[in-house]
Symmetry: C2
Subunit: 498 residues, 2 copies
């Protein structure tokens, strides 16, 4: 056959041509190739990980996740050092990281949310390199841009088959949507599905395909189901929360956005859900059908979907079991990657289509800058997650807050850490009144017209100061232990040792 | 805030740091940004396409597709020349491309399947540059590897919303799975959703997300629904097809592969489905539950799924309306990208997990090389599609064929075009007997043991020659009009002008 292949000049333009010898072509080498290794140590050896490796993890298992620590433990036992943990969030359950930080097994960390003993250890200077705190969209951007290069992504997989197809809806520790590890799966040098539930091939409801996965590592358990998802998430009924919910609903209605197609995001806490509930009641009164609700999704959102208040849910992460069940069953309930959710440098993120987002704050200052990263004593206890992303995208970014917490003022001169820049925050709603960002005179006028009597930020600030019993602590000169990176990669603030 | 940012030396290792000025940060520029343009001309202008651009298209609309020609027409009207059309398949409906080839508007073409008037025009030398014929997996590989760089992917979208989310299951021309354009959406420089059905945001059943789409171009119609999908696809009942189906089933059973977890791919033609039906009946008799059936999926596959013969369908393309309906409803019926289906350089393709594939042939030669690209007169009338991919992946690649067609022998000394190399073909099944590739003595022994009395390939070949009324035509010296590229990028053959 091939002896008659003599290409004339007109075939140029095809680039270099490699002539196949049919007799040398065989069945593909990967045919029947099994990717399963019996444990994490075998996976780490097979990957050839070395000192200094960047290892990534997702947080869909939340405070029940056993995978991150198990991987780092296994690396430590194999003598690896100077690792960089690239997590999407760190929870109290990750406390076993602390000794590894202290002994130099882990010297770098980046995450979108940092809480619990690891946060406290970072704040006291236990990590060699400053932590990089990103937003959910910023992490996706950094990975896609090659700023954050991941050597190995360890993807906790509620179920996986022997070829590496990953499902979030199957298995005893199903967490539903797998929005955060999608960019890791695309861009990491190596991808490991870590599972306690090896399914028959092919697994159902594949969310990350075998074309992205190098190895399947078996573990006894992905973690504690109770910590992964709560049974239910319900709206708060505390009076202060209900007053904030009522005022936030009035602001949304007065803004003119509460028409058919309205889109909303709110957090999963009881106070946030109280606002969602109040907004839903107003939608029912007005006969408004919303376009979508987005973000981390709870059973309460599912209720709203099923009541016809929203046409679609856009879900980057399930917060409870009812959300998992609905996601697996209802095609109006759609998953999305962190990049589709919030990446500012992609072709269009879902947050950019939000009408209203209802956000919390640890502190908010006179310029409407918000801190959800550090406590009043300067200790790290959070991070943006999607806070800065949704504020930047939404037409109406509402920050809700009480005036004080634990004796500290929540309205301050300057935030301890700048997480979300004031120019992206439109309005503050407290249980003592509303303040509109001066950059939004149009919104101010609408609220006045609706009889909501917005106050000056300075007035609410003064009230908070008068009610406070103590002042925030600021470390101005101590070593930098973390930087707060905005969604586009710029550093908005540094966080110092406490 | 920012005047107190003086980074000490220990922050090095973070790379170059850009300090944000919070006052300069604003709401994201894409907030509320609409991507919709009223027609294809507006899209082409907005993209800034130039002479020589590479434009890609998918073939889920099959012989009903109006999008490819509409885009090229619009380019021609705007004066563009020297375009390269990177299609996943070309059908008779694409005949209007021919005049554009003759006038130099289109000078390059690559595709995985080439039929109808465009194929005939290419065969007579109407295109300036040789066509590159790839496999479905090879096209995904070439795109991911940067060998095939796409300037703009025009993705026919049965429904899309104003932010570019694409659904294959919504709209009057729903085609179900969108497996082929997935790699285009990831790798093309620009991506356009072309739709006749603009949905409320967000559209249901998003298969390509807004994070990948630059523009949404409106058209009156994606094409002719009748050409897109047939109402039903049913097994053939012709005696020769039934005999081949019976023998193929015996071969599969004798191979030892017909046990729980068995996986099968077959084509969508009536003869292929007759084999699938016969295999299904054998599975029922033996009480075997298959793992999955893959490939282009028909209503007949859905029947097999619903009858419990297979646990899962892995679908790269729907061939009929029943498959579309099932895909939208049944989570055992899963979509996959062309890359996940068949890319030989990805981390693991579904074809590599196939037990048996049943394939057709225009010609097969003494070395088991198969031609599904050119007719006996040398004219192009097809191409690999998934033929070479599945043969390479499957444990048992069965080629079925009659001995002659239209008076030409189908068993030949040497295939007119080498599409699928003999070393990846295990067995030939004809209505006059079976021949096993000598590279598979194990299979030969199994068939003998099962009483199937395999014949020598030379014997069947001689029988075919004796029944043939005329001989194939071979152009040995004419200009090269196309090259047949194997899935890994090697050229296995050239195709000459007829």
């Amino acid at each position: 056959m091939l002896d008659r292949l003599h290409f004339p000049s007109r075939i140029d333009g095809l680039g270099s041509i490699r002539i196949a010898q049919p007799a040398a072509i065989t069945k593909t080498a990967r045919r029947g190739h099994e990717l399963v290794v019996p444990d994490l140590a075998a996976a780490i050896r097979a990957l050839g990980l070395e000192d200094g490796a960047v290892l990534s993890f997702h947080h869909h298992l939340r405070n029940g996740d056993a995978v991150l620590c198990a991987v780092v433990d296994a690396c430590a036992r194999l003598g690896l050092r100077n690792l960089h943990v690239a997590a999407s969030s760190i929870f109290p359950v990750h406390a076993p990281l602390v000794p590894h930080m202290e002994t130099g097994v882990v010297t770098g960390l980046c995450t979108n949310f940092l809480s619990g003993p690891v946060a406290q250890a970072v704040s006291r200077g236990a990590l060699q390199k400053p932590v990089v705190l990103r937003t959910h969209g910023g992490r996706a951007r950094a990975i896609a841009a090659g700023e954050l290069v991941i050597d190995a992504a360890f993807i906790a997989a509620p179920s996986a088959d022997a070829l590496g197809n990953i499902s979030g809806t199957e298995g005893p520790r199903a967490c539903g949507v797998l929005g955060y590890p999608q960019c890791d799966a695309i861009h990491a040098r190596k991808v490991v599905a870590v599972t306690d539930t090896l399914a028959d091939y092919p697994v159902r409801n594949i969310q990350i395909g075998q074309d992205r996965v190098d190895l399947v590592a078996l573990v006894d358990s992905l973690g504690d189901r109770e910590g992964i998802l709560s049974g239910t998430t319900r709206p708060s009924e505390k009076p202060a929360d209900l007053e904030i919910a009522r005022l936030a609903t009035e602001v949304i209605d007065a803004s003119g956005l509460l028409v058919d197609g309205f889109s909303l995001q709110n957090g999963a806490g009881g106070a946030s859900l109280a606002t969602a509930k109040a907004v839903g009641e107003r939608m029912t009164e007005k006969g408004v059908t919303g376009g979508f609700a987005s973000g981390g999704i709870t059973g309460f959102h599912v209720d709203m979907l099923e009541a016809g208040l929203f046409r679609i849910l856009m879900n980057v992460q399930c917060f409870d079991l009812r959300a998992v069940e609905s996601f697996g069953r209802d095609d109006r309930h759609q998953g999305m990657s962190a990049s589709m959710y919030a990446n500012p440098h992609d072709r269009g993120a879902v947050v950019d289509r939000l009408d209203a987002v209802v956000l919390g704050a640890t502190e908010i200052d006179l310029d409407f800058n918000v801190n959800v990263t550090t406590q009043s004593d300067g200790t790290i206890a959070g991070g943006s997650g999607g806070h800065a992303d949704t504020a930047a995208g939404a037409k109406l970014a509402i920050v809700t807050s009480k005036l004080t917490a634990a004796g500290f003022p929540k309205l301050v001169d300057r935030v301890g850490t700048l997480t979300t820049p004031g120019p992206t925050v439109d309005v503050l709603v407290t249980d003592h009144g509303i303040a509109v960002n001066p950059a939004r005179p149009d919104l101010h006028d609408r609220l006045v017209h609706a009889g909501l009597a917005p106050k000056a930020m300075a007035e609410l600030h003064a009230l908070a100061q008068s009610q406070a019993e103590r002042a925030p602590t600021r470390s101005e000169d101590a070593d930098i232990v973390a930087v707060s990176e905005y969604r586009d990669g710029a550093i908005t603030d540094v966080i110092r040792r406490t």
